[in-house]
Every structure is written in C-alpha cells, then in structure tokens.
C-alpha cells in the first residue's frame, strides 16, 4: 500500500521535506518558475519598448511636419 494513503493527508513539514530530497525538488521547481517569470517580464518589456519607440518616431515626424507647415505659412 502507498505509505501516504495510510498516513492520510501529509503534514506541511513532511510535504516541504520531500522525503529528504527537498533541495533537489524545490530548486528544480524554483528555477523553472523563475525562468517563466523572467520570460513574461522580457516579452512584455519587448512589446512595450517597441510601442514606445513607435510613438517617439510618430511624435518626431508629426513635429517635423508641423514645422514645415509653419515655414510655408
């Protein structure tokens, strides 16, 4: 029989101890979670940065056009 089924619900300490393999299991899961979070941050930063650069380009061109219009007047 599965030892956990006999014991019922394992305690939190038991769960965290991972049968003595806590360092391995939690490090592996922790690094994977960290990589996911960093990926989200990087992908969003890339999207926002591109939008910002497009806005700056648009702003520069608009002000250049306005300057030309002023000169022509």
């Amino acid at each position: 029989m599965d030892p956990r089924a006999r014991r019922g619900v394992p305690s939190v300490t038991e769960f965290l101890a991972m049968g003595g393999y806590a360092a391995y299991v939690w490090t592996a899961y922790g690094i994977t979670l960290l990589v996911l979070v960093l990926n989200v941050a990087a992908a969003r930063r890339r999207h926002r940065g591109a939008l910002r650069r497009a806005r700056e380009l648009d702003g520069r061109e608009t002000s250049r056009k306005q300057a030309t219009v002023r000169q022509l007047r």
Partner: protein, 250 residues
Amino acid sequence: MPLPRWFHLLGSPPFVYRLASKLGPWICAAGCLLLAVGGYWALAVAPPDYQQGEVYRIIYIHPQTAYVGTMAYVLMAVAAGIGFVWRIKLAHAVAVSAAPIGASFTFCALVTGSIWGRPTWGTFWAWGDPRIMFETLLLFLFLGYLMLRAAFDDRDKADRVSAILAVVGIVNVPIIHYSVIWWNTLHQGPTLFAEGGPAMTNDMLVPFLIMFAGFTFFFYWLLLTRLKGEIVERERATRWIRELVAGSRA
C-alpha cells in the same frame, strides 16, 4: 486552386497583431490554470515513485520543458524556412520571437535534468552522454541563431542568414529524440512513448500530461507577446502602427 483567404490574412501583420491581442489573454489563462493545477497535483497529490521516492517529481517539469524547447526549435526553423523561401517578413518575426523562449526552456531542461541526475546517477553532468550533449547543442543553436542575427545591422540580411542556420540545425531535433534509443546512455528511456504504452500509472500520467499542456500554452502566450513586440518594431513606419500608438496615447 486559389488559396483560402485566411491563408493570406496570416501573412498580414495587422491581422496577426489583432489576432494575437485577442487570443493572448485566453491562452495565458489556460496556461496558468493548467500549470497551477498540474503543479499542485505533481507536488502534493501524485504518489511517490517506488524506486526514486520523492525526487522523481522533477519528471513533471523536466521532460515538459525539454519538449517545449525542442518544439520551439522546430517552430523557429519552419518559420525561418518559410520566411526564407517565400520572403514573408512575418514568418521571420515568428522565428525571432521563438528563439529566446526556446533557449530559456532548453536551459530549464538542462538545469532540472542536472539537478535530477545528482541523486539518481550520482553526478550533475556527464560529458559524452548523447542526450545531454545534443540537448546542450540545442541551447547553443538557439544562442547561435540570436548572436548571428545580432551581427547584422540590416534586418533583412539578418533574417535571411540566420534562417539558414535555423533550418540546418533542425537535424539535431530527431537526434535528441532518438538519442536514448540509439545509444547506451545514462539518461532513462522514453516514458510516454515507451514500448507497450506509457510507463506510468494514471495517477502519475494525468498530472504529467497536464504539465505538458500547461507549458505548451504558456509558451504560445509568450510567443504571441514577443511577436506583437516584433511586429510593432518592424512595422513602426506604417500607418496602422501610427494609428495604434496614437490610439493608445489618447
């Protein structure tokens, strides 16, 4: 036979940008939910392994991240190849977006494998082990692709040259997959596609598959987000991008 309309639409940056914006939140929600449920199931519900005890729980993240990394490479190579042959810029944008995500998942697979190797094989790393070496090569192919691109100022040239590297590198993918069958290696054999069906009982197989789905959805959400950034970067001089940024500024 004329190509269907949606096929042409898939080459249109504004259409794909809007599609990505619409689908993104749903794919993100699906990925996060599956990873949360699967993660809890993997760590707290699934029974311990009769040989490896609790440390086997790395099996719920290690093959999944390795699979997503490999799938990302295939996607990148196919997209880059399509971009190269038919000169579709959007296809190159997809390839560029997949590369850093694929690299990071491959990195995860190597690190989690290394951590798992210490208690089970007695070593973090084994030089000369085919599975480990070809997986490491996959990481270097991703990084090589990105570094090669960075060497060009001209984006079109970077797209074309890096596409060749991406396509050639795809030979590594089947080698990774079959390395544990072709050679005698420390790495254990396939679990899911083992001879005679999955080498797992259902109480382990269900979270195992949920984690596969979760990482896959999460990957596609990251891909769509990066692709949106890439599209804006490449199209910033066009009218629709100006309207887009003007709309977001107001």
